[in-house]
C-alpha cells in the first residue's frame, strides 16, 4: 500500500509527530494466540466465586433473575452488536425500531408518556432527572427521601458538585420549599420497603417542584407505577430486565417522563417517521436537545448510551409479557415474605421496620452478621448484604433479597443455616 500511495515508509506518514514524542516500545507483553488469551482470561474468571442463582439472596441494585436465553441470543446478533448509533435511518431500521419498541415498553411499565433510548445506569439516570428538574424549574435544590440507594446518592452528589446544585435529605419534617426543584424517592427503597409516594408527589407539586420516582422495573409488573401516583419523571436501572449481574455492568438506566418534559430529556429519542413511498420507519428525533447539535446548551452530554442493553430489556419484556412480568414480581414477593417470616421467627433474628410493607427485599438484625454470612457462604449461599457498609446504625443488619429463582429448598437451607446460631 505504501508504494501505491507514493510514501516511502510508514515513518513518512508519521512525520507530523515530533521525534521527542515518539515512543520506543509499548511496555506491554507480546500478543497471544486466541487460545492462550482465553486461557489467561479463563484463569481470571476461575478465581472468582460464582454462587448458584437459587442460593443467591443478595440484591441491593443487582439481582439474579431467570435470564431467558433469547435475550443473549438477540443481543449477540452481530447486526445489532456491531452497528453504530443509528445515524443513517435507511441502514439502521433494526436498531431504530428495537429502540422505539423499548421506549414504548418503558413508557408502559412506568405508566408515563415517553421514555428515552437509555442512559448508563440507574444512578446516572437519577442525576439526569435532577438536571431536568432544575432546568425545568430554574431551581437549584433536589430533596431526596431516605433510603435512596447510597451509590445513587453519591453519583447524584457528584453531578451536583459539578453543576452546582444542592442535595438535601428529606427527614420526617418534609423540608420541601419554593427553592426545591424536585423531590426524589426510591420505591421500594433500599431496605426493600414500600414507601407512600403519593404524599411526596403531592408535597412536591404543592411547591411547584417535580417528583422523581426511582423504581424497580420488575416491581412494576405488580405494584403501582409512577404514572399512577402522578410522578413527573421515573428512572431506574434495567439490569433486572434480562441482563446478567456482570459484576455491576453494563446494564442500563431508564428514564421516562410526561410529555411536557420531553424536550428536556437527555440523550437519544427515536421517533416514528415516513418515507416518500408511505412506509413507516424510525429515526433519531428531537436532536435539538443533544450535544452534537447544541453543544454546551444540550440537555446532557451523553452520546453513546446503552442501546444494546435496552434491546435486551425489550426482548426480556416481550418474552415474559405482561402476565409473565407480574408472575416474576409475585414470585419474588412471595419468596421474600416467606423467608422473612421464617427468619424473623428464629431466635436472635429481628425484623427491621416490620410495620412497612416490603416488596422483595427486607432487612433483619442478627447478633453477628459476619459469622452468619460465613456460615451461609460455607453452605454455598450468598446471604444478605451487610448494611453497616452504608449505615452505621444498621451495622448488625443484613439486607436479604429474593427473586423468582430462589426456591423452597434454597429458602429452607438459609433458614436451616441461620437457625444454627
Amino acid at each position: 500500500m505504501l508504494d501505491a500511495m507514493g510514501a516511502s515508509s510508514l515513518e513518512d506518514l508519521l512525520r507530523d509527530i515530533p521525534a521527542e514524542l515518539r515512543l520506543g516500545r509499548l511496555d506491554l507483553p507480546e500478543g497471544l494466540s486466541e487460545f492462550e488469551t482465553l486461557q489467561r482470561i479463563r484463569a481470571l474468571a476461575g478465581r472468582n466465586r460464582v454462587y448458584e442463582d437459587r442460593l443467591t439472596f443478595r440484591g441491593a441494585g443487582v439481582y439474579r433473575h431467570f435470564l431467558p436465553a433469547s435475550v443473549a441470543a438477540v443481543m449477540s446478533k452481530p447486526q445489532f452488536a456491531t452497528a453504530y448509533t443509528p445515524y443513517q435511518p435507511e441502514a439502521s431500521q433494526g436498531t431504530l425500531q428495537a429502540i422505539f419498541e423499548y421506549q414504548t415498553a418503558i413508557a408502559e411499565l412506568t405508566a408515563l408518556d415517553v421514555a428515552n433510548a437509555s442512559l448508563y445506569d440507574g444512578a446516572t439516570a437519577l442525576a439526569e432527572a435532577a438536571v431536568m428538574a432544575m432546568s425545568h424549574t430554574g431551581r437549584q435544590r433536589i430533596a431526596v427521601a431516605p433510603y435512596v440507594h447510597p451509590e445513587y446518592l453519591q453519583v447524584l452528589r457528584c453531578y451536583a458538585d459539578g453543576r452546582g446544585f444542592d442535595i438535601v435529605e428529606l427527614d420526617e419534617s418534609m423540608a420541601i420549599g419554593p427553592e426545591t426543584a424536585a423531590v426524589a424517592f426510591q420505591q421500594p427503597d433500599l431496605l426493600g420497603s414500600m414507601i407512600e409516594p403519593a404524599g411526596l408527589v403531592e408535597a412536591a407539586h404543592g411547591q411547584g417542584a417535580l417528583a422523581i420516582a426511582c423504581v424497580d422495573p420488575i416491581s412494576l409488573g405488580m405494584i403501582t407505577p409512577p404514572g399512577e401516583y402522578d410522578a413527573d419523571i421515573a428512572v431506574g436501572d434495567g439490569q433486572q430486565l434480562g441482563l446478567p449481574p456482570s459484576f455491576g455492568g453494563p446494564h442500563l438506566g431508564f428514564i421516562a417522563c410526561r410529555t411536557s418534559l420531553t424536550r428536556r430529556l437527555p440523550g437519544r429519542l427515536v421517533g416514528q417517521a415516513w418515507d416518500g413511498k408511505g412506509r413507516r420507519g424510525f429515526v433519531i428525533t428531537l436532536t435539538a436537545r443533544e450535544q452534537h447539535i447544541r453543544r454546551e446548551k444540550a440537555t446532557s452530554n451523553i452520546c453513546t448510551n446503552h442501546s444494546l442493553c435496552a434491546l435486551g430489556a425489550a426482548v426480556y419484556l416481550s418474552y415474559v409479557g405482561p402476565d409473565g412480568l407480574c408472575r416474576v414480581a409475585e414470585a419474588g414477593y412471595r419468596n421474600a415474605h416467606i423467608l422473612q417470616s421464617r427468619l424473623t421467627a428464629l431466635a436472635g433474628v429481628e425484623a427491621i421496620r416490620s410495620e412497612r410493607p416490603f416488596f422483595s427485599e427486607f432487612a433483619v438484625k442478627v447478633p453477628d452478621p459476619v459469622a452468619v454470612l460465613e456460615r451461609l457462604d460455607r453452605a454455598g449461599i450468598l446471604g444478605g448484604l451487610p448494611l453497616g457498609r452504608w449505615y452505621p446504625d444498621l451495622d448488625r443488619a443484613l439486607l436479604f433479597c429474593c427473586t423468582e429463582v430462589n426456591d423452597d429448598d434454597a429458602i429452607d437451607q438459609v433458614v436451616e443455616v441461620m437457625s444454627q446460631s
Partner: protein, 484 residues
C-alpha cells in the same frame, strides 16, 4: 421490507411462557392500594415469533459485521469473537458486585491489570475504569480538574475547546457548570496557537483537545499548547476518541496531557451495540490521582482490594465498578494484541487512512494537506455548489452501494464534511472497492443529481421525512385509536 412493531404482533389471548415460580408456599397478599391498576401493555408473543421478529429487525441493519463502516471518529473496527466469549464466562457474568472481595479476586485482578495496560498505552499514572462512555469520561475528568483547582482555592470557570471539537466536549464542560470558550482552528486545520494564547487567563480550568484532532491531523504544536495552558495554571484534557492512531507510537501523557479518556468501544474493539454500552476509562497524572472516583482497585501482598477511603475523591460517577463486561472485552483484546500488536494496529490504521485518502484525491475535495493519521475529512462543497449534491446525498448514495456512510457535517469547521475512518481491520481490497464506490457516487452527482438527492433506494426504507417526525413527535406505539 419493513417489520410490524412487536406490539402489533401481540396475541391478546396468548398466555405467558412457563417461568420459575419460586416457593410453592403461600405468602402474604399485597396490601390494598399497592397493586398497579392497569397492566402494562407489553406484547404477548411466543418465543418463536419473538426470535423471528428480532432476526428480521437485525437484517434491516448495516453493521461492521457485514458492511464496511467508514464512520469517522467512531473507529468501527472488527470486534473479535473472543471478546464475547470472555465476557460471557460465568466467572464474570454471574458475579454480584457486592460479593466479598475474597470471592472476586480474579475480577479485581483483571481491573488492576487493565488499569496498568491503559496507563502504559496513554502514559498516565492511574486510571479509573468507572466511566460508562467517552462523554462520561470527559465529564469525570473535568470533575477531577475542577476538584484540583477548588482544592487550591482557585476560581477557574472556563474550559477552552477547539471549534473542531466533538459536541460532547462543550456539553461535558457545561454539565460541570463551566463556561466554554472556543479556540479557532488555523487554516492548516490545527489549533491556532495565537487564538489559544489570546484566550488564556487565570480563569481557564482546562483545554480539551483530541490529537490527532477531528480532522485526522496530528497537532504538531501540542507541546507548545501544553506549556501555554500549564503556564496559566490550566490543565490539559485529552479526548481519547482518536487514540487508535497512536498506540505504541506516542502517548498523550508524554504530550503534556493531565487527564485522558479512552473509548474502549472504539480503540479497544468492544462492540458499539448500536449506541452502547461502551466504557470511557479516565487516566490522570499524579497530581490528579487523589481526585479519582471511588473506589480504586489496589494490590497489597498479592491480594486485590477496593479502596473506598479517598477523601479528595470526586466521589462516584456511576454505580459499582463501571461497565465490567465491556472492560473484560477490552482487556481480552489487549492481551491478544500485546504491545506489538497494538502498535501494529495503529500503524495499519494510519496506513489504511492515507491509502484511502490517496485513492480519493481528485474524487472528493480534501481541504487539508496530508498525511493524515487514522482518518481524514473530505468535503462535498464542490459537489454542492456545482450539482446541488450535498454531503448527506453522497452518504445516501454510498448506502445504496452497500457501504455505511462516513460521518457527515462533523467537524463543523469543514463545510459539507465527510469524515472517513477506515481502521486497520479493513483490507486493501475493501478500501479499493470503497474508493470506486465513492467515485461512482460522485459520478452520479454529475449525471443525475436529482436521483442522488432522493437516494437511497432498495434499502428497507427510503429517505424519511425527519422534519415532520420532529414536529409532531411519535415516540412510542399506542394501540389503534388510543391516545394514551
Amino acid at each position: 421490507m419493513t417489520e410490524p412493531l412487536i406490539f402489533e404482533k401481540s396475541h391478546p389471548h396468548l398466555s405467558a411462557p412457563r417461568l420459575p415460580a419460586g416457593s410453592k408456599g403461600q405468602g402474604e397478599p399485597l396490601p390494598e392500594g399497592l397493586r398497579r391498576r392497569r397492566s402494562p401493555r407489553l406484547p404477548r408473543i411466543s418465543e418463536p415469533e419473538l426470535m423471528r421478529h428480532y432476526s428480521r429487525l437485525a437484517a434491516l441493519n448495516y453493521s461492521v459485521s457485514e458492511q464496511f463502516y467508514p464512520l469517522g471518529s467512531c473507529t468501527m473496527k472488527y470486534n473479535p469473537i473472543a471478546n464475547e466469549v470472555a465476557a460471557a464466562l460465568p466467572g464474570f457474568a454471574d458475579l454480584h458486585p457486592y460479593q466479598d472481595e475474597a470471592t472476586v479476586q480474579g475480577a479485581l485482578a483483571l481491573l488492576w491489570e487493565l488499569e496498568r495496560a491503559l496507563a502504559a498505552i496513554t502514559g498516565v499514572d492511574r486510571v479509573s475504569l468507572q466511566p460508562a462512555a467517552g462523554a462520561h469520561g470527559e465529564w469525570t475528568a473535568l470533575r477531577m480538574i475542577q476538584a484540583f483547582h477548588r482544592e487550591r482555592g482557585e476560581q477557574r470557570d472556563t474550559v477552552l475547546v477547539p471549534d473542531s471539537a466533538h459536541g460532547t466536549n462543550p456539553a461535558s464542560a457545561a454539565l460541570c457548570g463551566l463556561k466554554v470558550a472556543e479556540v479557532r482552528s488555523a487554516p492548516d486545520g490545527r489549533i491556532d496557537l495565537g487564538d489559544l494564547e489570546a484566550k488564556l487567563s487565570p480563569r481557564v480550568a482546562a483545554l480539551m483537545l483530541t490529537n490527532p484532532n477531528t480532522l485526522g491531523l496530528f497537532e504538531r504544536d501540542i507541546r507548545t499548547a501544553a506549556s501555554l495552558v500549564h503556564g496559566v495554571g490550566g490543565k490539559l484534557y485529552y479526548d481519547g476518541a482518536n487514540l487508535n492512531a497512536l498506540m505504541g507510537i506516542c502517548r498523550p501523557g508524554d504530550m503534556g496531557f493531565d487527564a485522558v479518556h479512552v473509548n474502549l468501544h472504539k480503540t479497544f474493539t468492544t462492540p458499539h451495540g448500536g449506541g452502547g454500552p461502551g466504557a470511557g476509562p479516565v487516566g490522570v497524572k499524579a497530581d490528579l490521582v487523589p481526585h479519582l472516583p471511588t473506589p480504586t482497585v489496589e494490590r497489597e501482598d498479592g491480594a486485590f482490594r477496593l479502596d473506598f477511603d479517598r477523601p479528595a475523591s470526586i466521589g462516584r460517577v456511576r454505580t459499582f465498578l463501571g461497565n465490567f463486561g465491556v472492560l473484560v472485552r477490552a482487556y481480552t483484546y489487549i492481551l491478544a494484541m500485546g504491545g506489538d500488536g497494538l502498535a501494529q494496529a495503529s500503524e495499519d490504521a494510519v496506513l489504511a487512512a492515507n491509502y484511502l485518502r490517496k485513492r480519493l484525491e481528485g474524487v472528493l475535495e480534501l481541504p487539508h494537506e496530508g498525511p493524515c493519521m487514522h482518518e481524514f475529512v473530505a468535503s462535498a462543497r464542490g459537489l454542492a455548489a456545482e450539482h446541488g449534491v450535498r454531503a448527506i446525498d453522497v452518504a445516501k448514495g454510498l448506502l445504496e452501494e452497500g457501504y455505511y456512510a462516513p460521518t457527515v457535517y462533523f467537524p463543523l469547521v469543514v463545510p459539507e464534511a465527510l469524515m472517513i475512518e477506515p481502521t486497520e481491520t479493513e483490507s486493501r481490497t475493501t478500501l479499493d472497492a470503497f474508493a470506486d464506490a465513492v467515485a461512482a457516487v460522485v459520478g452520479r452527482a454529475g449525471e443525475d443529481p436529482e436521483a442522488l438527492r432522493h437516494a437511497p433506494h432498495g434499502l428497507p426504507i427510503d429517505r424519511m421525512d425527519e422534519v415532520s417526525a420532529a414536529r409532531r413527535p411519535v415516540l412510542r406505539w399506542l394501540p389503534e385509536g388510543d391516545t394514551h
